[in-house]
Amino acid sequence: MEGRDLLAYEIYIYVCYSGRSTGEMEEQVETVGKAFVDHYYHLFDNDRPSLTSLYQPMSMLSFEGQRLEGTENICNKLNQLPFGQCHHAISTIDAQPSSFPGGIMVFVSGSLQLPGQDYPLRFSQMFHLIPAAEGNFFIQNDIFRLNYG
């Protein structure tokens, strides 16, 4: 893991263990949410196979209504999407602490530019992040939907 990816994880770990007061919890959750989103879409757009590091055997993805479970199935699906280079541009990020201890809900909207397409596709996506044994986060739940015009 290099450069900005390492920085993003350092932010996760710092925020997770820094033991802030309730008042700062909100900011903490926002910071982790934004760092995660940045990291996720950077990987997606530049090195899709390495998304495997963000999922675990119990992870679930609903992609345009299709349900997949487990790292291998999820990553096969994402790697097989019928486009090469793509670019996600993020419009909004909302984050809240989940009921799961240390867990975070992240809700994203943005647009996805595919090569050769005149116009980007608008999408919404939610992630439920759970602290992993190694001290970072993994994606327990992932739901993706295009927003048709």
């Binding site: 909100e26 679930m60 609903s62 209504g65 349900r67 909004t92 909302d94 809240q96 602490p97 989940s98 009921s99 799961f100 867990g103 809900m105 809700f107 909207s109 608008r122 919404s124 939610m126 439920h128 759970i130 327990q140 739940n141 739901i143 939907r145 927003n147 015009g149």
Partner: protein
Amino acid sequence: MDPDAVAKAFVEHYYTTFDMDRSGLSNLYQDNSMLTFEGQKIQGNANIVAKLVSLPFTQCKHTITTVDCQPSGPAAGMLVFVSGTLQLAGEQHGLKFSQMFHLMPTPQGSFYVFNDIFRLNYA
């Protein structure tokens, strides 16, 4: 009960209640519930319902396009992800929106909304 059926039943109940009488949403939230509404963060049943009731329209109608659900983990919670259109009285076109709910079970055997995030989808 089938999780998909539970999710659809919740969505129907939520938006029907919203469209008919927003104050009736009160029994779907608790003190630890959180709502982020177009980026504004609100915590707790009373504050959430006050926000929803004070939205600057009386008549509205939600039409749901997609509902996705997944179990959220060992505590038997459920995630519900909705997209649809919100028609306000007097407006020519409906507003497109996405919303996610994290439902947690109550001791009485129903669900309440723990996390709620709402965003309009601008063109």
